[in-house]
Symmetry: C2
Subunit: 491 residues, 2 copies
């Protein structure tokens, strides 16, 4: 590990670290490329300083220092980015400061009547839920990274969460944001809805640390669910499952869970051995029994040949410990596999197996072409690059106008060449997603890894507007350079 290229000023020294452990642990996110390099012990480009601000004023002081010193400031929540969001190795800066928000981790205020809370952005998922539970409240935002990611990270990357329909992204739960920018603190008004100009919050949601560092937010919360029903619906073909998923998504029923697994995923992660596709359908409510909702959802499925061999599992006002639990044999198996998948990935990496995921969203009418195009392209790339491998697909979130397909690749890597192999496959997959009308990311974010495809997706005038907004908020161009926009020319 190279020595630090810059030192914090004395005023910031108490909240800054240059210890090798801190620098190493802030070098990477959790993408495939990160895990492989971590396993190899490669830490050639760590941040020079890791700052641990304990107050909003500390964040402002760190950004002031970075702006005057010409150091890149890379915001760091839980470090769970899978798209190169926390690693900047470019030139033109005096060094890199990782700004770790984990000391800003308090639930500051709870408004039980409005079901909202003011929460600091550095809080991790489990701590956030622990603090809300005594009030009978929950954010119910459970991205797969839940244990290892922070509220600020979810907000900055437009994270996808628990709800498969309607309120799919963290964006939907934002009442207001407080963001420290190099040009001052930007605090929006706490509002349930507004039509006063373009939404300030929507500019920062998805800004991935390029416009400022989110320090706190007022979030809309939920009462803890008490009624639940879930079912594993099997379809003889993936196509029938797609039609059923569309019917449910367009019915206005708003299931909490509605994940369609193709036969490959149903076999590997839900133990479905008969070649069926599986739709994991679940309703939940803190307010009312959900039988009527489930009954109609299953009718939609039956219209497309869906069968429910394991029946519906319902819970009535339930023990609190049941949170998140949704039953049915295949459903339970799937849920457990979902939560364990990232751990499994790391084990596969140690065996030089390549295991990665990528995701997108498209219209219902565009899905068949996108699905075939992506699968064919990636299968061909896997044969060429790895000699073979599997591509499977599930829907993670559904909209009335289209699904969010999520692809999983497992293939044998060649030890030492895994990164080059993965880069080639990822590029082929991304090309196919963009060529077939999808978005380069539905909820994993853009980071640095998705930049070339994001640039093709993003309208050019919007890119100009975003660069201009960044120049206004971050005139020295120090915030997370290379994410979303190129590093600004520095004076």
């Amino acid at each position: 590990m190279p020595p630090p290229r810059l030192d914090p000023p004395p005023s910031l020294a108490p909240i800054c670290s240059q210890r090798p452990y801190d620098r190493a642990s802030h070098t990477y996110g959790k993408g495939y490329r990160d895990v492989v390099r971590g396993f190899r012990g490669e830490f050639g480009h760590p941040p020079d300083v890791v700052a641990f601000p304990a107050a909003e004023a500390d964040v402002a002081a760190v950004l002031d220092w970075c702006s005057s010193a010409g150091a890149a400031a890379v915001p760091y929540g839980g470090g769970s980015s899978v798209v190169g969001g926390v690693e900047f190795t470019g030139d033109g800066y005096a060094g890199v400061v990782s700004v770790d928000t984990s000391r800003l981790a308090t639930v500051l205020e709870i408004d039980r009547t409005s079901r909202a809370a003011r929460i600091q952005a550095g809080i991790y998922g489990p701590a956030l839920e622990d603090d809300l539970r005594p009030h009978g409240l929950t954010l119910r935002h459970f991205p797969q990274s839940f244990e290892f990611s922070t509220l600020g990270g979810w907000l900055a990357t437009r994270s996808g969460g628990h709800y498969a329909t309607n309120t799919t992204h963290i964006d939907d739960f934002v009442e207001s944001l407080k963001v420290v920018t190099p040009s001052g603190v930007c605090e929006s008004r706490r509002l349930p809805g507004s039509g006063a100009g373009p939404s300030p919050d929507r500019m920062f949601l998805g800004s991935e640390g390029t416009l400022g560092i989110i320090t706190e937010a007022w979030l809309r919360l939920q009462d803890r669910p008490r009624w639940r029903a879930s079912a594993g619906v099997r379809f003889q073909s993936f196509e029938s499952g797609v039609e059923a998923a569309r019917a449910v998504a367009q019915a206005g029923l708003y299931p909490a869970n509605c994940r369609l697994l193709d036969a490959g995923e149903a076999a590997t992660s839900a133990g479905v051995g008969d070649g069926s596709a599986l739709l994991v359908l679940g309703f939940e409510s803190a307010d009312h029994a959900v039988e009527a909702w489930m009954a109609r959802g299953l009718e939609c499925c039956a219209d497309h040949g869906g069968a429910v061999p394991e029946g519906v599992r319902s819970t009535v006002p339930a023990r609190d410990e049941d949170k998140g639990r949704q039953g049915g044999g295949a459903v339970d198996t799937w849920r457990s596999a979902f939560l364990r998948a990232p751990y499994g990935r790391d084990a596969l990496v140690s065996m030089a197996m390549m295991a990665e995921t990528f995701e997108t969203a498209t219209t219902w009418s565009g899905f068949p072409t996108l699905h075939a195009g992506v699968r064919d392209t990636v299968e061909k790339a896997l044969v060429e690059v790895c000699g073979g491998g599997t591509v499977t697909c599930r829907f993670t979130h559904l909209y009335p106008d289209g699904p969010a397909p999520y692809f999983t690749i497992v293939a044998p890597g060649r030890r030492g060449s895994e990164l080059a192999q993965w880069d080639e496959i990822k590029a082929a997959a991304s090309d196919a997603v963009i060529a077939n009308g999808g978005t380069i990311t539905h909820h994993h974010a853009v980071g640095r890894d998705h930049r070339p495809w994001y640039d093709r997706q993003r309208p050019a005038p919007f890119a100009e507007a975003l660069r201009a907004a960044k120049r206004a908020l971050d005139p020295a161009g120090v915030l997370n350079p290379g994410v979303l926009v190129d590093p600004l020319p520095r004076a």
Copy 2:
């Protein structure tokens, strides 16, 4: 009417008019100040030219001309702005060109599978619904201005529509936008959801013609509803009605209608003579019977003393002509009064009566203070300025974290002084809204009339970012000067 200060270039002459009728009819919106001046025959500041682009290229050419000639370009949809959105009388420009989009009024493409359509922005509400009806589809966006406003106007102002909960604003139905800016055409990708950077569409939604002219959009549509249930729920106090409305909004039932009228509004617009507050509760679905939803909604109301003297009126798969019809004696009366209100306003103006509305949104916990503060302030102002008058309140839209209260003022004006009187009352009301934590507009937009209060609501760094974005997209600063941001310094 003064003669035009500038003439279109020969290439644009065929799509431009300087006829007095066109100039007069594009002078004002439909606010109280507009109607009063129209009645007086005051048309001292008409646009110099009215352009009627018939294609996207025409819009670009008009903006090019305005940029090079230093003329203000004021986008004009239906001209129904009630906030001074279409009237620019400031200095520093060679003249004003009203850009009327009414020739861009075609439904271009329908995707039945994804339930979406590509629609030109100049189409009026009724024509849009007429074109969708043969396909069994509807946008179901019915702002009170529906007959006299356009899709582009709804998008540019973040219009509030039919649904009282969940999908309250036109924003929620936008799949993608095409916007002509002076720096080029900005076209977003058609996506049901995305996490790729800040949303480009959300920058233009609410931009009120300051960043570009929206020429078309892909919109999410609905199947036409076939099941409906509605009820008029009476409460002995407004406060009980508020509690019931909150319970329904937080229950996850998503009623299409959930409008709470205070006793004053219940009396004048729903014929409720016993001093009750009235909650107009309605569910609808294209997919399923809504009894379970209504039953639970009424339980929430009963918990707070709500009674349903006229019972529930349900319709099962219904004749198409029933669209929008939701029954119950008080409910029918209210609906009819709602649609006729703007016509009545004009009649009152002719009698020198002042009749206006303003609206906001706030949290449930903040509502009692806001309601009392606004009512007290406005009642005091009415006594001082008009010698008396009434202030009533209803909820137009509801969120889990707060309502959107809508206030109606009726007072005797003094002929000749109505505008000064109204300005004083409106300023007092706006001060009270902002001081009590509300937004200056939930769905009427900012325009020029709300600017002073919008500036207090909007975070300063966001204002800088918005100005920077405008400079990037509209370098000559010609688009709708004074709306949202001050006119840019012109070279």
